[in-house]
């Protein structure tokens, strides 16, 4: 029915199956939208946040999706600026994932603020000395860059591409993409960094405070670095999941392995920097403010030393070594294990830099505060996931996201016979 919209040379599942899938994810989406509306109309009392936890699950989700969404800017930088041309086979998907991550982050921020209708004050009455201002500006600007990077992909839909103007527009946007990619990298450097700065500048909170270079605390550079390092892992993880769901190979191994290798070295160097940072902070910064590691990691079982180990070793050194080592990297099981550990590692880092910062007492007579999210917070955090799945489903079905798909999954001239023999019954070729 919708075969005229499906790219040439690739197979897609029947429309009913696609719509059923959309419907199921759509129910989750609707649940999230309901929770979002509750938060907007009834206020943030719908959450379990409190005056100790002004930043909670949402801000963690925000930081985490932006970190893992860093795959878009870093892949773009590698392809368009550094010239790793093989990455053109995965860059579309990296852009789509980045687009989803950043639109999700903006949506979560819009729910998270107490007076959403005044959200524009952050731009209008900008305090240029606040890290959050820098985040808001660069995030919005970079989202527009991602939109610009995503538009040519939409224009490549078979039917849209037939319109000469759109065809030309898509072509021209591809031609100038290096300019946008460079701007995106510039903006990403600053907003990823500012997100690290958000916690690093809090000189009232010895757990998160860091010294730094000029106005930028060390966390500024660590966040940028970690986003560039871990972002590609998330791109690879989602690619792997997509391949499993579609039961197709979509990107060639050499492309995946190249990105995994770069990511491995980035994670390795990042983790070394993180170890230096942690050592300096534990031995100089925090003691200078009267606190020790024991104050931060022994107050409650939830935030024990295990979290430091999990972040730096399990989520840092282990995936880095696996991805650096050629034999391990080429083994899909090891590679995927490393990628999953890496994504968990960077998410844990963002958790620590938001939630643990709030949990640690600063006044000696104050107590640890723990928090668990309300269902409204959980639902609004799952909302972007559902939205992302839907956008991926639609984009995958109708847009040529994976340039190597047709080559890796050739369709024979007699599709009906082949389908019976080689492919599951629910996949049928597009009617070209």
């Amino acid at each position: 029915m919708d075969s005229a919209l499906i790219p040439k040379g690739v197979k897609r599942c029947p429309l009913w199956q696609f719509l059923l899938g959309l419907g199921i994810v759509g129910v989750v989406l609707a649940w999230g939208v309901y929770a979002m509306l509750l938060c907007w109309f009834k206020g943030l009392n719908q959450t379990n946040m409190n005056d100790y936890y002004g930043f909670a699950l949402w801000i963690w989700a925000d930081l985490a999706v932006i970190a893992v969404g860093g795959g878009a800017f870093f892949s773009g930088l590698l392809k368009y600026i550094i010239g790793k041309d093989e990455l053109k086979y995965i860059i579309n998907y990296a852009v789509l994932i980045g687009f989803i991550c950043y639109s999700s982050a903006l949506l979560i921020l819009a729910i998270d603020i107490g007076q959403p209708l005044r959200g524009w004050f952050i731009f209008w009455h900008a305090n240029v000395h606040s890290m959050l201002t820098e985040v808001a500006f660069c995030l919005s600007c970079y989202f527009s860059v991602l939109t610009i990077e995503y538009i040519p992909l939409i224009l490549e839909n078979r039917q849209i591409d037939r319109v000469p103007f759109f065809h030309n527009l898509s072509h021209n946007m591809h031609e100038t993409m290096a300019v946008f990619a460079a701007t995106g990298a510039f903006l990403s450097f600053f907003h990823q960094g500012s997100l690290g700065g958000v916690a690093g500048v809090l000189f009232g909170r010895p757990f998160s405070f860091r010294e730094g270079l000029l106005i930028w605390p060390w966390t500024f550079f660590l966040f940028t670095w970690s986003a560039a390092a871990y972002g590609p892992c998330f791109t690879l993880l989602i690619t792997w999941i997509t391949e499993k769901v579609t039961r197709k190979k979509l990107v060639k191994d050499n492309v995946v392995e190249l990105l995994a290798k770069i990511s491995g070295w980035m994670i390795f160097t990042y983790t070394i920097a993180k170890i230096f940072d942690t050592t300096r902070w534990a031995n100089i910064t925090a003691p200078g403010l009267g606190q020790t590691l024991a104050d931060f990691y022994t107050g409650t079982a939830m935030y024990g030393y295990w979290i430091l180990f999990a972040e730096i070793v399990l989520g840092g050194l282990v995936p880095a070594i696996i991805l650096i080592s050629a034999p391990l990297r080429k083994n899909p099981v090891w590679r995927v294990t490393a990628i999953i550990l890496a994504v968990m590692g960077v998410s844990l880092n963002r958790w620590v830099m938001v939630l643990q910062v709030m949990a640690v007492p600063v006044m000696p007579f104050d107590k640890w505060a723990l928090y668990y999210p309300s269902w409204q917070e959980v639902a609004t955090t799952i909302l972007p996931v559902a939205y992302g799945i839907i956008l991926i489903m639609i984009s995958y079905r109708y847009l040529p996201i994976f340039p190597q798909e047709a080559e890796l999954n050739p369709i024979d001239d007699e599709p009906a016979v082949v389908a019976e023999i080689n492919t599951p019954a629910d996949l049928e070729p597009a009617q070209a």
């Binding site: 900008a126 000395h129 500006f137 600007c141 591409d161 037939r162 000469p164 030309n168 072509h171 701007t183």
Partner: protein
Amino acid sequence: MFPFSFEWIWDAGHMVFHGGLWYALNIIGIGITYCIIKAAVDTIKGKGSHDHH
């Protein structure tokens, strides 16, 4: 965001921050405008009127 906001100060912080911001915004704006205008010109010239695939 603009010099007519009352909290605006012409100090180094504002100039660096907004300098960077407007620089990026201009590149994005000029870039996309160029693409659109060039696409329109190309279309008028008759480019892309056949199916390339």
